[in-house]
Symmetry: C2
Subunit: 354 residues, 2 copies
């Protein structure tokens, strides 16, 4: 385990991305979103991704110089073509636009095609929440999830984030993949030589499996199988519900933008699609009361009777915000493989290591 | 098992509701939504509810004569007070309004407080979809669901329905409770003296249980325990994700409308809250293409390789639309207890039985 100051880590990511051809603004966008993920403890979406971004830029999957283009525009909507630019830059550009529209018209909806991996969805949702607005972020992804009764990964894990501003408290910030667990969880289990519980993934025949290595290998080689939707295998525990939510994310992202669905991504370019929605709660005429009113529910939830053995009931986002506070004080934690890979990258690129 | 013509069943429900004080329009709204549920095979939300509605009207929980009132209004939003009227009538009124706004402005958002049980969410979503629009319906409910690490039912099962129109095919219509299973499933198991699988519900100590009778009794007596969120117990299979989605439904329904959260419902009145959202996909400038583009994904999903033993891969809504076609041809199926209860109701009210 290693600890690094957030600023230094951010500066390093920025330098790497600039070396790959990004200008300052794009490099800063990427650095900020990646380091934010590590600070929140979402290491699967943090600087561990940097090597992959470097490779994607070398392979032409990400164009480090591309500027997003507004294809269609109304007072409440935009359709944006990311032109295969860095996902973080495209997404900050798009969410800013959704926020502007929501401020002017009450609602802003932005659908985006031809972007790339954008990191944590919650980053963009939080941009809206910081302005006192309700924010929604969705993205499709590489095809990793096997829908109910199928044995093929056609859908992405399709993360969704929704946030509501609060008064004198961290926002309510839900940020989740629509698979039961993200791929990163299987990678961790594989590294530790541990079995995974039945209900996370299926093998190439569509049967539940405890072997994370097999699932990851099958996904890499496109042999079939993959992650199960939220609700698990079949319909007994509601797997068809998670499947339905995944389809919706495809329709809002790639559907509305005429972009590529998850099963069509990463052919030549990344071609990832996103959707950003922002709403000003004042359009219901209730601004002040709304925030106070919400607290009644949130307080009732965290103060409810705990089941035996439970120490605390959480609201969504709380764990991550507390991790971030710790990281700001004590430094950002990185595990050995990530740390070593960053150091190697600094040597390869002849950049100073933080 | 009994079979009745939809028209006759509808007419009977209408007569019962009129006898309770509803005018024609309200009685027809209730009859249409209830019978539609039975036609789609969602019997837990069909005419089996009629007795409960009668009781709720007698007890003053539902006011059969109340008219909803528009409290706040903009070109894209309405805040509506249901004045404790019948949920179906309030909801048709509200969804019509959302549709009008979406047709005029691209988007219509309507938040509703002080309503009652509205039947199947999909009914209202379909109203939008029939006009070529994207529809969303949400409602909170009686407190039945136990959130992650708690042992108290604070949240409702909080159904969500989202629909997209299709060309020459039934719409894509997701309609689901955000608990792993609805309460109705436990009632069926209890009636058949069958155990439920672990992952559906917890007992009064917050521990997983296989005993459906105990859970139902605990819920009735407010002793603790209840239904688990989509994703099940704890965080291993994503139970905190289902929990998060339930909170969002509370915030969009009771939050935005300053209504009652699920844990506050059914004190004196029902005080159920809803949310209706409609979007015209043309606001992304892509009307014609959008519908064709969607088909690419939906076709890929249903034609994907099936896991061993699976006969068919479904899209959301397909099963229900096929049931409905059958019911329109052969009549609406009702089980014995429901049939007998309706007959008893007809005797009590001296109404002709269909």
């Amino acid at each position: 385990m290693h600890k690094l100051k957030a600023e230094k880590l951010r500066e390093f990511v920025k330098m790497v991305m600039k070396r790959m051809g990004c200008d300052d603004e794009k490099a800063i966008a990427i650095a900020d979103v990646l380091v934010e993920a590590d600070m929140r403890g979402i290491h699967s979406h943090g600087v561990a991704r940097l090597r992959r971004y470097v490779n994607h830029m070398k392979e032409g999957i990400i164009d480090p110089r591309a500027e997003p283009k507004v294809v269609f525009d109304t007072p409440i909507t935009s359709l944006i073509d990311g032109n295969n630019g860095p996902g973080q830059y495209v997404s900050i550009f798009s969410m800013k636009r959704a926020i502007e529209k929501a401020k002017a018209s009450g609602v802003g909806l932005v659908s985006v095609r031809n972007s790339n991996h954008f990191g944590i969805a919650g980053y963009y949702t939080e941009m809206a929440v910081k302005e006192g607005l309700v924010g929604i972020t969705m993205t499709n992804s590489a095809p990793l999830a096997v829908h109910t009764f199928s044995k093929e990964a056609v859908l992405g894990t399709n993360p969704v984030s929704i946030g509501f501003p609060r008064k004198n408290a961290h926002p309510f910030l839900l940020d989740m993949a629509l698979s039961a667990v993200p791929r990163g969880k299987l990678e961790v289990h594989a590294r530790l030589e541990k079995e995974i519980p039945l209900g996370w993934a299926v093998d190439e025949t569509g049967k539940g499996t405890k072997d994370p290595k097999k699932v990851l290998e099958n996904l890499r080689e496109k042999r079939g199988g993959g992650l199960l939707p939220l609700g698990g295998e079949g319909e007994t525990f509601g797997g068809h519900k998670g499947y339905g939510l995944m389809v919706l994310v495809e329709l809002f992202t790639a559907g509305l933008s005429l972009g590529s669905f998850s099963f069509e991504t990463y052919s030549d370019k990344g071609r990832i699609s996103h959707f950003f929605a922002v709403m000003d709660p004042r359009i219901f005429g209730i601004e002040r009361n709304f925030v106070n009113h919400m607290e009644k529910l949130l307080k009732r939830l965290v103060e409810s009777k705990k089941r035996m053995g439970a120490e605390r009931i959480y609201l969504h986002g709380e764990k991550e915000y507390e991790m971030k506070e710790k990281a700001m004080k004590d430094g950002v934690e990185l595990d050995d493989p990530t740390f070593d890979d960053l150091r190697k990258l600094s040597e390869e690129m002849e950049l100073e290591f933080p």
